[in-house]
Structure formats: structure tokens, C-alpha cells
Amino acid sequence: MGLVSFLVAVVAGAALAGGVGAVVVAQNHPDKVMERQQEQAKEQGQPLKQASEPEVLDYGSR
């Protein structure tokens, strides 16, 4: 029983580490970095290069 608990703890630890890694990777995704840079530029009053908006908004993307 102790071994099973140990294994579950190992798997849980690895999963948590993987999850944290995934969140960190997502935060550093180029889109996110771009968003942060744009927000910084907005705060500093620098002109933003706006992309043209689509005519029909996407429901989502795959």
C-alpha cells in the first residue's frame, strides 16, 4: 500500500511539474509576448502598429 501511495505521489508530482511547465510555455508563447509588448507600448504612449481587423470574427481557431 505504501508503494502505491509513493507511486501516486511521484505521478502527481510529475504531473504538477508538467502542468507548471505547460503554463510557463503558454505564457511565453509569441502571441502573449506580442500582447505584453503592445500593452507596454500603449502605457508608454508609443504609437502602435495595428493589424487590420477581419470582416467576420472567428468563432475560434483549431
Binding site: V4, V8, V11, L16, A22, V25, Y59, G60
Partner: protein, 534 residues
């Protein structure tokens, strides 16, 4: 047995608060398909009598009725809390065990998973209400199987949140059939057919076919190196990458999914000695198969052919939703598998830790906002006025600054009184999936026939034909909305399905609910002899 352990209720309440807490602040959570308004209009479309396919029937009618007496934002908050709380509690109570810790594992596994997170973030709250009802439907089905008198009334009541939408109604019917067993199948079918009549009757009368392009656009999607198969078996795999929590890219996830599923199967073997659980597990396998059908060889072609020729087969697009059937046997099996372990708390931590970004409403995904004052002003102008409203820009979805740029369904049809015509075609990654409303198609061609008002929403992407607006009479001009009257417009002739069968469907469903309630409360139900055949 202590099914009413305070710990279980407290855990379910904590789960609901952990996931939904930010949404409880004042305002409306407007995200993708989730739209609530202060007072939803009670119009023909809400009952399935509009021109478009009745996709939000009967839920629109029910929410419209509720918001006549309760503010829309309160309804929304209660619904969101109920989804997590009731789903978790139902799953916990369904496990035949004396250990509250085991119930808690089932509760967490059922309500804190990728299915709940992804469908919540895409705003499919009616589907999730159906999902939350499934454990309660299963309990009712099991009571019917045991031959408990009046168990059918329990089934009617448990199915009510599910039958608010077509997918929810089908999920509940399947679960009820699997749990009640073949001897009670006819009773279950009869209840299911009548309760679901408010959506299937107008849908059949519409004979509308969906665009088969939706099959591929809305097929299950791989969220990590495990691909769509392991994503779906882990209860995720929704088509829209934008609503997938970042933690679903966890590289350990495919391995853990296999381990958890293996444990759940072992648990189901043990559970089968106490409950007839294999039909439920079979239904789970069917759900996973349906969810994956569009990514299997030949699946897209088969589904496209079906959707192109069979009215109503559009329900099979976005087929990942059917994996909901897998969640209940998974949660029950996993809970029983860990019954003899001392590491139950660790399993709970593992389940929560695998999806940390469901907490706090997905950290910013479910934040309530207030509608700008223009919306109430335009509504005031239209109250009591005849005529349908066409809404521009022509796009089903909006992205307003006042909602932090979140993608959201156009709120106009649920905010404004009367009937509203909006573009119902969908764009997925730039690829257009055609809508079904003939009036929206005419609108796209610049035809305003049958439209007496035009509303232009500002601050959202999309062009508006200025030549068209130049011919109209401005009635309200605000920073967020401009309302025009169409000079000399003639009212639109009703083009929905015939009213009589739709009314009959509503009367039948309402009567069954009424009789079910009376049967439970009045002595007449108690005279029915218990079924001794089983």
C-alpha cells in the same frame, strides 16, 4: 452508509466556488456562446417558432420566463454554480460506498476535468447543465431498474436541466436507458421523447440541413503529443484551441490519462459487483467513439454525407461533446479503484493539479462586465414597437473593448425585445461554415425586406455598408450603438414552422412535468402498487 456527509457537500461547494468565484461579482459573463441579459425577450423564436433552426430551444424560453421575475445576472450566477456543485454532488452520491473520501474522488473527477473547463470557457452552459444532471438521471434510472414505485417521476425531474438543450436531452436519455435496463426501456423512451419534444418537434418541422463544412471545422483536436484520441479519452479535445486551458499541453498528460483510465476500468470491475455499471461503461465507449468519429479514417466523409442529407444530423458536428458519457463511468470507476488506498487525497490533489487553470474562472476567462448604457437606451426605444431588427456588422460574434476584447456571441437577440435577425454563419480559422437562417442569407445580400429596424454595433470588427445606412432614418446615435428605422418597411410574414404541433409539444412536455410533480406530492402517486417483477 453516510451519503449525506458534510465533507462531501463542503467539497462540492468548494469546487463550485473555486471554479466560478469571479463570475459571482456583479455583471454578466459574456464569453463565446454564453449570453445573459437583464431580461431576455419572450418571443416566438424562443419557443421554436422562428425562421432559424431552433438551436436554443427550449432554453431561451425558460431563461426568458425566469428573467421576467429574476435579474438575468442572478440566473447566470446560479446556473454556473449549479453546474459544478450539482454535477460533483451527483457523482459523489452515486458511488455505492461507506467512505466519504471515495465519494469525494468521484465528485472531483466528474466536475474538475477538461470537459467541464473547455465547455465552460466556450460558454456551453446548457450542455454543462445536462452534464451535471447525468449522475442524477443515472440514480433515477437505477431506481427504475430496481422497480421503485414513482421512480419515473424522479427521472422526469432529474432530466429537466438536461432537456433544456438538444445535446443535453440526448445525453440524459442515453444515460437513463443505460441505467434503467432493457425492461424499462419503453418507459424511459416515452419520458425522453415527450420531455424533449419542445426542441425536436420544431427541428423536424424546419427540415433544415446544416453545412457539412462544420464536420471538419468542429472535429476533435489533439491538445498534446497524445493527439485527439488521448485528448478525448482524457475528456478534452474540443475543436477550439482558444478555449483549451494551457495545462492541457502538459507532456505528462497522455501517460496519466492512460493510467487513470486503467485504474477506472479496474474500479468498474469492482463496482460491477454492487451496481449494473457495464451498460454505463458501454455508453462511455460509445461517447468516446462518437467524439472521435470525425478524426477516424473515413469519418469526415461519412459524417458529411449524413449531415448533408439527414435533417437533424447536424447534432453530430462538434461531436466531442458526446464524450460526456465517458465522464461518469470514469469518475465512478476511479473512485472505487482508490477505495482501498490510503492515497485518496493524493488522487484528489492529482486531479485538481492536472487542471489548475480551471480555478478562478480560468484566471480571467469568466469575468463579469456591465453592458454599456446604450444597450438599455436602445431597448427602451424598441419596447412596444412592432418590426424586426437587423443587426450589423454581419458576424455572429463580437469583440467589444468593454468586454476586454473577449469573443462573444452577439447579445442583441437576447437583449432587445421582439425578433432580431443576425448573421448565423460561423468563421473557424477564416473558413466559413454556412448558417441556416434564410433571413440572414437575404441580409448578407443587402436585402432588408421584412426588416423595420437596423442596429449597428460599434467597437467590434466588421464593415457596415454606408450606402445602405444612408437610406435609413437615424433614431438613436450613441457611442456603442446606432439604431435606424427603415422607411416604408413592411412587416415580415411569419415563416416559421406551423404553430399547432409546436404548441402541442410544449403542452405535452409541460403536462408530463406537472403530472410528475403531482405524482410525487399527492396521495394518488402513493396508491400505485410497487413493481414486484424484479
Amino acid at each position: 452508509m453516510r451519503p449525506n456527509g458534510v465533507k462531501l457537500y463542503a467539497t462540492c461547494a468548494a469546487l463550485a466556488l473555486a471554479a466560478i468565484a469571479p463570475a459571482l461579482m456583479p455583471g454578466y459573463v459574456l464569453v463565446y456562446d454564453m449570453v445573459f441579459t437583464p431580461q431576455q425577450p419572450l418571443n416566438a423564436a424562443a419557443f421554436g417558432l422562428g425562421d432559424a433552426l431552433p438551436r436554443a430551444v427550449p432554453v431561451d424560453a425558460v431563461v426568458a420566463l425566469l428573467t421576467q421575475v429574476v435579474p438575468g445576472q442572478l440566473v447566470q450566477k446560479l446556473v454556473l454554480l449549479a453546474i459544478v456543485f450539482a454535477g460533483a454532488l451527483g457523482a459523489g452520491l452515486l458511488v455505492p460506498t461507506e467512505k466519504t473520501g471515495v465519494r469525494i474522488v468521484a465528485a472531483v473527477a466528474y466536475s474538475w476535468n477538461a470537459y467541464v473547463a473547455e465547455r465552460l470557457f466556450i460558454g456551453h452552459w446548457t450542455l454543462l447543465l445536462g452534464y451535471a444532471a447525468l449522475p442524477w438521471v443515472a440514480m433515477a434510472g437505477l431506481k427504475m431498474r430496481e422497480g421503485e414505485p414513482r421512480a419515473w417521476t424522479r427521472l422526469v425531474l432529474a432530466s429537466l436541466p438536461a432537456v433544456l438543450s438538444a445535446p443535453g436531452g440526448i445525453l440524459a436519455l442515453g444515460t437513463a436507458l443505460a441505467t434503467a435496463g432493457p425492461r424499462k426501456a419503453w418507459q424511459v423512451l416515452a419520458v425522453g421523447v415527450v420531455l424533449n419534444a419542445p426542441w425536436w418537434v420544431p427541428s423536424l418541422l424546419h427540415d433544415g440541413l446544416s453545412d457539412p463544412a462544420g464536420v471538419e471545422a468542429f472535429s476533435a483536436r489533439g491538445e498534446n503529443w497524445g493527439g485527439p484520441v488521448l485528448s478525448v479519452l482524457g475528456l478534452g479535445g474540443i475543436w477550439n484551441a482558444e478555449v483549451v486551458p494551457a495545462s492541457r499541453a502538459n507532456p505528462m498528460l497522455p501517460v496519466i490519462t492512460v493510467l487513470l483510465l486503467g485504474a477506472a476500468v479496474l474500479g468498474l470491475r469492482e463496482l460491477s459487483k454492487r451496481l449494473p455499471v457495464w451498460p454505463l461503461a458501454g455508453l462511455g465507449v460509445l461517447g468516446a467513439f462518437l467524439a472521435l468519429i470525425a478524426v477516424l479514417p473515413g469519418g469526415v466523409q461519412a459524417l458529411e454525407a449524413l449531415i448533408e442529407h439527414v435533417p437533424g444530423a447536424g447534432l453530430l458536428r462538434d461531436s466531442q461533446k458526446w464524450v460526456a458519457w465517458l465522464a461518469l463511468p470514469f469518475a465512478l470507476g476511479l473512485a472505487v479503484a482508490v477505495e482501498r488506498l490510503r492515497a485518496r487525497l493524493l488522487v484528489v490533489v492529482l486531479l485538481l493539479g492536472l487542471l489548475p487553470d480551471l480555478a478562478w474562472g480560468g484566471f480571467g476567462r469568466l469575468e463579469p462586465v456591465d453592458y454599456p448604457p446604450d444597450w438599455a437606451a436602445v431597448r427602451e426605444k424598441l419596447v412596444g414597437q412592432p418590426g424586426d431588427v437587423a443587426v450589423f456588422p454581419l458576424s455572429a460574434f463580437r469583440r467589444f473593448d468593454w468586454n476586454d476584447g473577449r469573443t462573444q456571441l452577439d447579445p442583441a437577440p437576447r437583449y432587445l425585445p421582439g425578433t432580431t435577425v443576425v448573421d448565423d454563419s460561423l468563421s473557424v480559422g477564416g473558413r466559413i461554415v454556412a448558417g441556416e437562417d434564410p433571413r440572414a442569407a437575404r441580409l448578407r445580400a443587402g436585402d432588408l425586406s421584412g426588416v423595420e429596424w437596423v442596429l449597428v454595433e460599434h467597437g467590434t470588427p466588421g464593415r457596415v455598408d454606408q450606402n445602405l445606412l444612408g437610406r435609413l432614418e437615424k433614431v438613436h446615435d450613441g457611442p456603442d450603438l446606432t439604431l435606424y428605422r427603415v422607411p416604408g418597411a413592411a412587416p415580415a410574414a411569419p415563416n416559421g414552422p406551423p404553430a399547432a404541433p409546436v404548441v402541442l409539444a410544449w403542452v405535452a412536455a409541460g403536462s408530463l412535468i406537472g403530472v410528475g410533480l403531482l405524482w410525487r406530492r399527492l396521495p394518488v402517486g402513493r396508491f400505485s402498487a410497487p413493481n414486484r417483477e424484479e
